[in-house]
Assembly symmetry: D2
Homo-oligomer: 350 residues x 4
Amino acid sequence: MIGVGIIGYGYWGPNLVRNFYETPDCRVVSVSDLRENQLARVRSRYPTVETTTDFREILRDPRVDAVAIATPVSTHFDLGMQALRADKHVLVEKPMTLDVEQALRLVDEAHRRRLTLAVDHTFVFTSAVRKIRELALAGDLGDVYYYDSVRVNLGLFQHDVNVIWDLAVHDLAIMDYVLPAQPVAVAASGMGHVPGEPENMAYVTLHFDARVMAHVHVNWLAPVKVRRTLIGGSRKMIVYDDLEPSEKIKVYDKGITVNGDGNGNGNGNGARYAMLVNYRTGDVWSPQLDITTEALTVELRHFVECIRENKTPINDGQAGLRVVRLLEAATESMRNAGRPVELAGNRCPV
Amino acid sequence: MIGVGIIGYGYWGPNLVRNFYETPDCRVVSVSDLRENQLARVRSRYPTVETTTDFREILRDPRVDAVAIATPVSTHFDLGMQALRADKHVLVEKPMTLDVEQALRLVDEAHRRRLTLAVDHTFVFTSAVRKIRELALAGDLGDVYYYDSVRVNLGLFQHDVNVIWDLAVHDLAIMDYVLPAQPVAVAASGMGHVPGEPENMAYVTLHFDARVMAHVHVNWLAPVKVRRTLIGGSRKMIVYDDLEPSEKIKVYDKGITVNGDGNGNGNGNGARYAMLVNYRTGDVWSPQLDITTEALTVELRHFVECIRENKTPINDGQAGLRVVRLLEAATESMRNAGRPVELAGNRCPV
Amino acid sequence: MIGVGIIGYGYWGPNLVRNFYETPDCRVVSVSDLRENQLARVRSRYPTVETTTDFREILRDPRVDAVAIATPVSTHFDLGMQALRADKHVLVEKPMTLDVEQALRLVDEAHRRRLTLAVDHTFVFTSAVRKIRELALAGDLGDVYYYDSVRVNLGLFQHDVNVIWDLAVHDLAIMDYVLPAQPVAVAASGMGHVPGEPENMAYVTLHFDARVMAHVHVNWLAPVKVRRTLIGGSRKMIVYDDLEPSEKIKVYDKGITVNGDGNGNGNGNGARYAMLVNYRTGDVWSPQLDITTEALTVELRHFVECIRENKTPINDGQAGLRVVRLLEAATESMRNAGRPVELAGNRCPV
Amino acid sequence: MIGVGIIGYGYWGPNLVRNFYETPDCRVVSVSDLRENQLARVRSRYPTVETTTDFREILRDPRVDAVAIATPVSTHFDLGMQALRADKHVLVEKPMTLDVEQALRLVDEAHRRRLTLAVDHTFVFTSAVRKIRELALAGDLGDVYYYDSVRVNLGLFQHDVNVIWDLAVHDLAIMDYVLPAQPVAVAASGMGHVPGEPENMAYVTLHFDARVMAHVHVNWLAPVKVRRTLIGGSRKMIVYDDLEPSEKIKVYDKGITVNGDGNGNGNGNGARYAMLVNYRTGDVWSPQLDITTEALTVELRHFVECIRENKTPINDGQAGLRVVRLLEAATESMRNAGRPVELAGNRCPV
């Protein structure tokens, strides 16, 4: 039985408590929040769960094996580090930290203490994203050519982070999970329309070593809600629309074929002999997805299982770090008018 | 009666001939194409129209007042210049030329000879785009915050120009028509998936002096066809979906309001006092559009009228030049890994 | 303060309890259900609410002024009658009773005792349906020509009532609320695909005295979920799609105009002079709806207000009776191969 | 080489001429129409085709082997009969005739003269409908449970036939082609909103011997255009949306399974033991369709091939007769307030 404490009972905390509450081999020991009225809600719904306004009580509690942190991002590092130092396993909200430096230190601390550190990249536990990864890994898509996501709607404007940290973080976490390679450079452009507030719209471009590119459009000030990803591959292409109630993924047996002879001639005879591109169109297939099980349910079971069996979560601190590195680089690029920022560590040594 | 000659009877030429044929005060004199079999089609459908494989016959013909050029873009400058020097008014396919230098010379030549030079930016003659301009000019949108367009589909891969010149040209022409300001910098990232061929996908970002940005996603290798533009304003926002059969434009009475007190406090007391952003949602309105009249019909009438009345077309050579300048800069940026390219001439002198 | 008891804590009961719990001037006194485990849920979520497996305790309780009945339809009459006889106001789930006879007796009992009897026609409290009624009453639609609804999906097959009683009941309640006239005849055709079980698909046609007709397609065995109503009027037409997240109602300024002269000539000169029908197309308008307030919240406030101020609810027993009359007639017609059943009482005496 | 004459060059005639013109082994000899200006169009587009205002010239012409009739439905019988008597094969527009009597006589005449009689049920030559038939025949759907079609839009009001003859004729022809059984009764309800004109909206229900039903909603006065068919089967279900540009057909691996034990118990123990219905949900599949070849092209090739090889067309006079029988019965039912009309001839003799 894994004892769990939850720090933060605001927007996301209630989902964590509700799901941990129903996770097998797991017991919610205590919840902390600075607001007493929020804690009253916990007690009324979960009479067996203790509450406190002092998160340190949770860290001191020997019945607590793992801590989930659902507080503003600026507090993630400090709370996470204290929890690790109290020898608690940690699940922290995304984005994991405010910068790479903090993320590295958390990863390092967890590693040294052999504790499980996970970041709540919820989307990688949805059946849709898992299916996409499955198709990509199985080679059904062929070579992946691009990943393009639009994630826009009206609201909620954040004050402490820009729209990239708030929305693109989802796409970066999904890409980190489904794409075989790591980006080597990031560029971003964005704009804020409320003076003194963070950017509320942004375009992020990711460059890879291979012939792959990725792009994310995020916007808090859009007239309609869109959650739509296009993934192009040499063999098949995917449309992933998270707002579709049931057919979230469509796999298109579509693409181009290039005439090899045209290629040869083209090399020999100059520009007049262009490649012959043919278009291929086949069936469209929408695989059945388990849309009844909440992603967070799957994620928390995985977290508990990883603690119990001493396994590395798919959403471990390294994943959190990789995503924070991209967020940091994107913001840096955005502050420099879109100038690309290289991710030295990601470049493959040749 | 304006006599018209059409040079090039390939993909678009038949549309020009068909529409000029039915334009009042206008007579199609002659059509040229290098392919005799194409000319046979002209003669069978339009027995009164003459044909020739030598476009110079058209330029020499005193019955021809105006020439329409619908040939590959690499020939636009040369044919356009010859036509102007033969004292013909000119309508040239988009993009107007291969580069800014050529465009400047055409504009200059037409200006010196007081001839009408127009570029076939067909979209600015659609009822949808005209309605958007009307709403923008009337102030219904408030301050325009952004223009975001997605124009993707499978095919047709071009060999002589990249996807920006083929598809984004439409968006740039529309923006040139509906937005009040000119961009001051352009950045673009793209990729080609057929070796030796032009880029088949690209993202173009336009920066403006004011708090406005624009972005275009174009792609020849997408699983689905999308023609969707979001325009955000401080008062209203527009979704323009060109694939909708009838409701192509939706105007959303939606947006944010910012609490002025929050603003004042924020200035005085630092970051702790964030702006209070409220969300405003009202009706959605889809204005009736005349979708029965072909845009090209409207355009050619406008062209003939401008010649007859010595007026400047809304799609004049200057518009063609501005769009070519953006295309050139976007391609330059794309070749430099997305590094923004400044458009010195567009920067407002302060 | 109105004291409320809820009988039945199955599928819908929890919604009633939750909403009554937050209704002003109202107190949930007690909940009854035959299943002790269901009652345990009540106690854990609402520690102040009493529970019992014997609904008669609720009826005997002097603190209870009103009773909500959310049990299988076969028990509605008996429970409703007992509640009325215990001098409780009653809100009963839809459909109100199993037949007209029962409905009449409930209405009569409530009338004699001057008690409020309401039936839970939730849809008439949605902002979408209220907006439709508003438009119809204000004359915006002109003469209403037809009401056409499709309400299909896969599941849930009911065992005690056919699909008309389960799904069409919603449409009949909405029509009763928004249409100015009462149907004079009903026809229905349907079919069951599970031997021994009720019909799982049906088509119901309602005839009116005026030039109006209504039609409802309901189906538990459809591949997709559809909740779509078309309402045709002489001036405007409405599409009401309840699955749209925000633009649930679209008002089309569309229709026909008929040439009066054609009419005159036609009368004088026989069939050769047909009416000249012209088509009219204008803007589409999607009025803002309050989609954040739950319909049941509005309904329960209305119920409590009607009790307190001794007013007649818009969803009173008469409305419940009218709907049950249509359900009964539709089922009778369906059992007779679609033969229309007249609703004598609805025919206007002339 | 089959010589073809076309009678009637109004709305549909030009499509017939254009397609016959490009059909192999076929030559368009002559076109007749009462309007000289229409014939002038023929001559300008097809200089080799002769024209006449007297259709009898076509019937007398020995170069003409087959005649296509694209005139108002009231003339179909007379023109068709004259053509057959002139020993011409006949393709007649749908609906084939004004009533069953006429249809029977045409079929009989063609049979006696061993001539090919076909009716232009264009939809059965679309790749979508052919794919549906293929799936139905192959047993992929299991037992077909229902066929439900909605075919509504604004306009075009007809003066000589009601909306059933104009729109539902398509659905009846499709059903005749894809469903394994023939209906045994028809009911219809409808209404006209222009005084003195035919019904502009109608609901048609078809009953079959087996546990199958079909329903068609047709309407000339609808705010939106809908062309959507649901086909329910015991194994799979189909949504056929003809307005979808590419994915016109979606096959849902969805349905119910019924617990056999529940059945047994139910029989033995009365109503308390209801059937256990489980819901099954699997992939959705959208088969690739050839949407580039016009259905009429396929149809005319089939017509010419049937003449040459003396085969029976799939759209033969019998098919035309079966559809007219349904149209006649539906109109009869509609005139009788929806009273079902039995189709005696269709009842299987047992």
